[in-house]
C-alpha cells in the first residue's frame, strides 16, 4: 500500500485548469447590484417625480434649470407645509403610543416566552407569530368584526370610548398589528441573554423580579431598544388595516402611510410623493438606528 501510495503522490494528479474559475461570485454580485439598483430606482423615481422634471425639461439647459428650481421650490413647499408636519406628528404620536402599549405587553410576554415553559409549545409559538404573518388587511377585517360584535361594542359604549374613525382607532390598529411582533422581538432579545447570569444572580440571593429589573433588562437593553425602534417603524408603516377598519378623517386618522393612499385617491400626487418619501426616510432612518444600536439579530 505504502509503495503504491508513494507512487500516486509522485505522479500527482494535475491540478484543475485555471479556466474553471467560476462565474458564480459574479452572478452573486450582479444580483446584489440588480436588487440595489431596482430599489434605488424605486426611490429616486419618486423624488424625480415630485420635482416634476420630465422629458420636456431636457429640451434645453435653461428649461432644465428652471424646472429644477421649480422642483426644489415645490419639494420645500411640500415638506415645510403645516399639512406635512401635522401628518408627521400624528404618525409619530400614534406610533409612539401604540409602541409603548405594545412594550407593556411585549416585554413581559417576550420574557415569559423566552424563559418559561408553555404547554403545547408549537401551538403557542404559532399563536404568537400568527399576527406577524397574517396580512394586515385581514387583521383590519377581523378587527372590524371584533369591535362591532359582542361584548366589545356594548363594553365600549358603556365606558364611552369609541374606536371607530378616530385617533383611538388608529392606535388600536397599530397596537394589534405590532403587539405580537413586539413580543417576538423581545423574545429574541431575551434569548440573547445567557440564563446563567440569572441563575448566578438568584444564587446570590436576588429575587426573581429583582434579577429581572437589575440584570436581565440592562443586559438585554440593546436588543430591547432596537426592537422598540423596529416595532415603532412597523406601527408607523401600518395602513391596510386602518383603511379597512378606521377610514380617513383629515388630521384625525390619516397617518402618513394612510395619507399616501387617501391623497392618492384625491389625485394629489404631490402630497402622495412627499408622504411617500417621508415614509421611506422614516423606515431607512429607523433601520439605520437599529443597525447602529444592535448590529444583527434574529427574528425567528
Amino acid at each position: 500500500m505504502s509503495e503504491s501510495a508513494r507512487q500516486t503522490v509522485s505522479t500527482r494528479a494535475t491540478p484543475p485548469k485555471r479556466g474553471t474559475r467560476s462565474v458564480w461570485p459574479v452572478i452573486c454580485l450582479i444580483a446584489v447590484l440588480l436588487i440595489l439598483s431596482a430599489y434605488l430606482l424605486l426611490v429616486v423615481s419618486n423624488v424625480v417625480y415630485l420635482t416634476g422634471i420630465d422629458e420636456a425639461s431636457f429640451s434645453s439647459v435653461a428649461q432644465l434649470l428652471k424646472d429644477l428650481r421649480r422642483g426644489i421650490h415645490d419639494i420645500l413647499w411640500f415638506f415645510t407645509s403645516g399639512r406635512m408636519s401635522s401628518r408627521f406628528w400624528l404618525t409619530v404620536k400614534t406610533a409612539s403610543i401604540s409602541t409603548m402599549l405594545s412594550l407593556l405587553v411585549g416585554i413581559p410576554a417576550g420574557y415569559a416566552l423566552s424563559r418559561f415553559r408553555f404547554p403545547w409549545p408549537n401551538l403557542t409559538r404559532t399563536l404568537i407569530d400568527l399576527p406577524v404573518m397574517v396580512p394586515p388587511a385581514a387583521v383590519g377585517v377581523f378587527l372590524f368584526g371584533v369591535m362591532h360584535g359582542w361584548p366589545v361594542k356594548p363594553l365600549c359604549e358603556m365606558i364611552g370610548i369609541s374606536f371607530a374613525h378616530n385617533t383611538n382607532g388608529v392606535i388600536l390598529v397599530q397596537f394589534v398589528v405590532t403587539v405580537s411582533f413586539c413580543a417576538r422581538l423581545m423574545k429574541s432579545s431575551f434569548d440573547g441573554v445567557n440564563p446563567h447570569f440569572e441563575q448566578v444572580s438568584r444564587s446570590l440571593g436576588a429575587s426573581l423580579p429583582r434579577t429581572f429589573w437589575k440584570l436581565t433588562l440592562p443586559l438585554a437593553k440593546r436588543g430591547i431598544i432596537a426592537s422598540t425602534i423596529v416595532v415603532w417603524a412597523r406601527a408607523a408603516a401600518e395602513w391596510e388595516a386602518l383603511m379597512l377598519f378606521v377610514g380617513g378623517t383629515e388630521a384625525e386618522t390619516d397617518v402618513m402611510p394612510f395619507a399616501v393612499y387617501l391623497d392618492w385617491n384625491g389625485g394629489m400626487m404631490g402630497w402622495v410623493a412627499s408622504y411617500s418619501i417621508a415614509c421611506i426616510l422614516l423606515a431607512v432612518a429607523s433601520m439605520a438606528a437599529v443597525r447602529i444600536i444592535a448590529g444583527k439579530s434574529y427574528l425567528w
Binding site: 452573486c28 430606482l41 419618486n46 417625480y49 404559532t126 388587511a137 371584533v146 391596510e240 411617500s276 425567528w300
Partner: protein
C-alpha cells in the same frame, strides 16, 4: 448559644426565602398571565369572527341590493363562497402569482444574500439597511413608487416601446409582491448563509471545487432549513400582499380574455383578484360572509406557514 444562633440564622433565612418565593411566584404569575392574555386575544381576534361567516338574522335584505348580489348570494354559511368560480380563480391567481414571485425572489435573492453574507462589498452596512427597511415600508408607498417608476421616465418609454403595460396586469401583481417578499426572503437567506461557516467552502475549494460547486454541494445543503424558511416567508408575504396590489394593479375582474397573453389565459389568471384584495372587494360588494371566509383562508395560510417555519427551525434576520 451556638444552636440559638443557628436557629435565628435559619429562621431569618426561611423568612426571607418565603418572601422571595412569593415575590417570584407573583412575578412569574403576572408574566404568564400577560402572555396567556396575549394568546387569548389572538385567538379571540380570529375565532370570535367565526360568527361573521353565518348570515345574520337581523340583516335587512332588499330586492334591489340582492339583485346586485344575485351571482353571489350570502344566505348560507360563508356566503357559499366555495360554489363560486370567482373564489377559486382568486385562489388560483394567488397561488400562481405567489409561486412565481417566490421563484423570482429566490433566483435573485439567494445569490444576493450569499454575496452579502460572504463577500466584502463596499457599503454593505448601507445596503443591509436599505434592504431591511423595505420590511417596514408601507405598501401604499411601495405601490406609489412602482407606479411612478413604471409610468414615468425612461423605463416607461422603453416598456411602452415594447408594448408592455405593467400596471393593471398579472405581471404587475408579481412585481408588487416581489418587493416585499424579496426583502422577507433575503432576511432568512442571509441568516441561513451566515449560519454556515465559510471554512466548509474553503475546504471544498482546497479540494478543487469551483466557487459554484462548493456553494452547490456544501453551502446549499447545509443551509437547507434556512433556505426553505426564506421560501416560505417569501411565499406567505407574496400571498398576503394587499395594499401594493390595490394601488399598483387596481383590480381586474370582468376583463375580456382577449386582452391577456395566452399563458395567463391558459392558467386562468385573468378575471380574478388576489385573495387579500378579493376579501376587501367582497366586503365592498356587501358580501360580508364571503369576505370573512376569504379572511379565514388567509389566516389559515399564514398559520400553516408559521407552523412549518417553526417545524423546520428556520431563522430570519429582522435587521
Amino acid at each position: 448559644m451556638n444552636s440559638s444562633n443557628d436557629n435565628t440564622a435559619i429562621g431569618v433565612h426561611n423568612g426571607r426565602a418565603t418572601g422571595m418565593r412569593s415575590r417570584a411566584v407573583i412575578f412569574t404569575a403576572i408574566f404568564y398571565f400577560i402572555t396567556v392574555m396575549l394568546m387569548l386575544a389572538v385567538c379571540w381576534l380570529f375565532l370570535s369572527n367565526v360568527d361573521q361567516l353565518f348570515p345574520r338574522e337581523d340583516t335587512v335584505r332588499t330586492e334591489a341590493m340582492d339583485a346586485w348580489r344575485s351571482d353571489e348570494p350570502t344566505k348560507e354559511f360563508a356566503g357559499g363562497c366555495w360554489r363560486f368560480p370567482s373564489f377559486w380563480r382568486s385562489v388560483n391567481l394567488t397561488v400562481v402569482s405567489a409561486t412565481v414571485t417566490t421563484l423570482i425572489a429566490a433566483i435573485l435573492g439567494i445569490p444576493a444574500a450569499y454575496a452579502l453574507s460572504r463577500y466584502k462589498i463596499p457599503g454593505r452596512a448601507v445596503i443591509d439597511v436599505l434592504f431591511s427597511s423595505v420590511i417596514v415600508l408601507p405598501a401604499s408607498s411601495v405601490g406609489l413608487c412602482l407606479v411612478v417608476m413604471f409610468q414615468y421616465g425612461p423605463l416607461h418609454d422603453i416598456l411602452d416601446g415594447w408594448g408592455i403595460h405593467v400596471p393593471l396586469s398579472v405581471p404587475g401583481i408579481v412585481v408588487v409582491q416581489l418587493v416585499l417578499s424579496l426583502a422577507m426572503g433575503m432576511s432568512a437567506w442571509r441568516a441561513a448563509f451566515d449560519g454556515v461557516k465559510p471554512r466548509f467552502e474553503h475546504v471544498a475549494r482546497s479540494l478543487g471545487a469551483s466557487p459554484w460547486r462548493s456553494f452547490r454541494t456544501v453551502t446549499l445543503p447545509s443551509a437547507r432549513a434556512g433556505i426553505f424558511a426564506g421560501l416560505i416567508l417569501a411565499w406567505t408575504r407574496a400571498a398576503a400582499e394587499f395594499g401594493g396590489v390595490l394601488t399598483f394593479c387596481s383590480t381586474f375582474e370582468q376583463f375580456s380574455p382577449e386582452l391577456f397573453s395566452p399563458i395567463i389565459r391558459a392558467l386562468h389568471l385573468h378575471k380574478a383578484d388576489p385573495l387579500a384584495v378579493n376579501m376587501w372587494a367582497q366586503i365592498e360588494y356587501g358580501n360580508v360572509e364571503y369576505g370573512f371566509a376569504i379572511g379565514f383562508v388567509l389566516v389559515m395560510i399564514s398559520a400553516l406557514s408559521v407552523y412549518v417555519l417553526h417545524k423546520i427551525g428556520g431563522k430570519g434576520y429582522i435587521w
